[in-house]
């Protein structure tokens, strides 16, 4: 059992880990269950993470003691709820490296955050002939809105290709990012390849041409220290549910100068200043972009997720995953002909490990692993264009997080070996 070794760090194979995984694991009630008679090994973290007890309790606590509609409420519950909600905003602003609280907008997810930018900033600033640059490894959330916007505006959609190793191919970058570029929208970390992209460098280049830069940090924010000011981007989008928080909460960071000029997205209560049938003025930031009753309870509970991650330390989270990814690569190499996608240098990638077996379809891999208690994802991972580039219809993906350890990787590898026997191919 390698799990023991994560505590005293004496195993040759695993090396010392920066997180006390056994202790972390115990904070996640869901992990303590059996699936098809096997202890659950949850390796679908790139899709959504599990929640520590403190987050679940924060939700419970909110509904048991505090719940009320927020803002403008003059009773105690409404004041408490507003305080808690706004405290999370302050916390997010600190967590992402210190930005203004007015630059943090709560949405329903990364997808809505990016759509908001496309429908407001994009609608007003992208014109015929303008160029939008994305990459070949974008998740549909950072792809479909731009494809549709480009079609609507007769703008040109260009993409940065990837190399055979799963990095961005920057050899022709000066032909791609040009004075015509109005927007560079790229992922910080690929949800399929794990690749960490040089966002700072590309943002600087795009800015030289006066373009606006949006980084999809849905995969990086949960897994490594992300400092938005040093990334130097104009917009960032991410989801709470991938970083220990509840479902239904997303964040849009936007530079104040840009947000100030953008029209609102969802219009209704709380986002207006004054309404007449023929004239409307918008509320100040960030409220202009938070029309309607927000997802108060989940935003409040997200605060506990941030606190939990800070207590672990994001650099420790990153170190742990980097080591564990290395361990997984090592062990997976025991499976002859198993093809792993994305960079092999663990320092340049996160812990999403996509792989294919030459003879077994990813769906069958996933179904088989599930029968052994192991949850991974199989499919196109909402990155169909990337799949086409990789020449795959689908991949299997095991993705790591703070509560995974060497034992989980061992269980995965052993099940894969058994699987090959089972299918006999």
């Amino acid at each position: 059992m390698a799990s023991k070794t994560t505590q005293n760090g004496t195993s040759l194979r695993s090396g010392p880990t920066s997180l006390m995984v056994d202790i972390v694991k115990a904070d996640f009630p869901l992990l303590d269950q059996t699936i098809h008679g096997h202890k659950l090994v949850y390796l679908d973290n790139a899709a959504s993470s599990q929640k520590p007890r403190v987050v679940i309790n924060a939700l419970l606590d909110y509904y048991r003691k505090t719940n009320a509609n927020i803002h403008r409420g003059l009773h105690t519950l409404a004041e408490r709820a507003t305080d808690s909600y706004e405290r999370t905003r302050d916390h997010v602003a600190r967590f992402v490296g210190g930005v203004d609280r007015e630059e943090i907008i709560f949405t329903s997810g990364t997808t809505e955050s990016i759509n908001l930018v496309a429908a407001t900033w994009g609608e007003e600033n992208i014109h015929e002939g303008d160029e939008i640059v994305i990459t070949e490894m974008e998740h549909h959330a950072n792809l479909v809105p731009w494809v549709i916007l480009a079609q609507k505006k007769k703008a040109v959609l260009k993409h940065i290709p990837i190399t055979i190793c799963g990095h961005l191919d920057l050899s022709q970058i000066d032909d791609i990012i040009t004075p015509k570029t109005k927007l560079l929208a790229l992922t910080h970390m690929s949800n399929v390849l794990g690749t960490i992209n040089p966002v700072e460098e590309l943002a600087a280049k795009a800015h030289q041409h006066g373009a606006v830069v949006l980084a999809d940090v849905a995969q990086s924010m949960p897994h490594m220290p992300v400092d938005i000011p040093s990334l130097g981007v104009d917009f960032c989008a991410f989801s709470a549910h991938k970083m220990l928080g509840p479902t239904g909460v997303g964040i849009l960071y936007g530079k104040r100068e840009l947000l100030d000029k953008m029209p609102p997205y969802n219009m209704g209560g709380e986002m207006i200043r004054e309404v007449r049938f023929d004239h409307i003025t918008w509320a100040e930031l960030p409220f202009k972009f938070e029309g309607g009753t927000p997802n108060v309870a989940d935003v409040v509970a997200f605060d506990a997720a941030l606190t939990y991650l800070e207590a672990l330390g994001m650099q420790n989270v990153r170190d742990h995953e980097e080591r564990l990814t290395g361990y997984a690569f090592e062990r997976l190499s025991e499976l002859k002909d198993l093809e792993i996608q994305g960079p092999r240098e663990t320092g340049q990638r996160g812990g999403a490990i996509s792989f294919t077996d030459p003879n077994i379809h990813p769906h069958d891999i996933s179904t088989f692993l599930d029968s052994r208690g192991i949850a991974i994802r199989a499919g196109h991972h909402c990155a169909q264009p990337l799949m086409r580039v990789l020449g795959k219809v689908a991949t299997a993906r095991a993705s790591l997080y703070i509560y995974n350890d060497e034992a989980d990787v061992d269980q995965l590898v052993e099940a894969l070996i058994e699987m090959r026997r089972y299918f006999g191919v």
Binding site: H36, G37, H361, H380, V393, Y422, G424
Partner: protein
Amino acid sequence: MNESLDEMYRDIILDHYRSPRGKKPLEKTDIASEGHNPSCGDEIDVELQVDDDTVKDVHVNCHGCAISVASGSMLAEIVKGKTLAEAFRIAELVKKILKGEETEIPEDLGDLDALKGVRQFPVRIKCALLSWVTLMEGLKDYKSGQRGGKSSISTDDDKD
């Protein structure tokens, strides 16, 4: 349970998966249709050689998971020699079996029984369905006189 896994991947399914029938190209293709489920990437070609309203030969080419490959292989085996009308009825029956609307399977279609195990895996039903729906689409277009072109269909939309 591992039993449910073995329910889905019954020996007969694994056998069809490992050595799919209908691999050989046809001498003459009268009906051709293709199926594609973008959500999982499964792709299938179903081709029939028809003689006097009877399926003389079947060619199935499937890129997909064990379930879709096995299902397509069963199709190749079962449909061969049937009239077009019979083939269509069998495809309808398979749809009903997979949706749990029908459980009785005629003796001569015994292999199909193995598909029942898929019902416990809702996400996989469309894999098992793909070849059959593709066949039906081809037959429909053939009957309505739209010959020559290739019919195209998907079970992703869960509409059938």
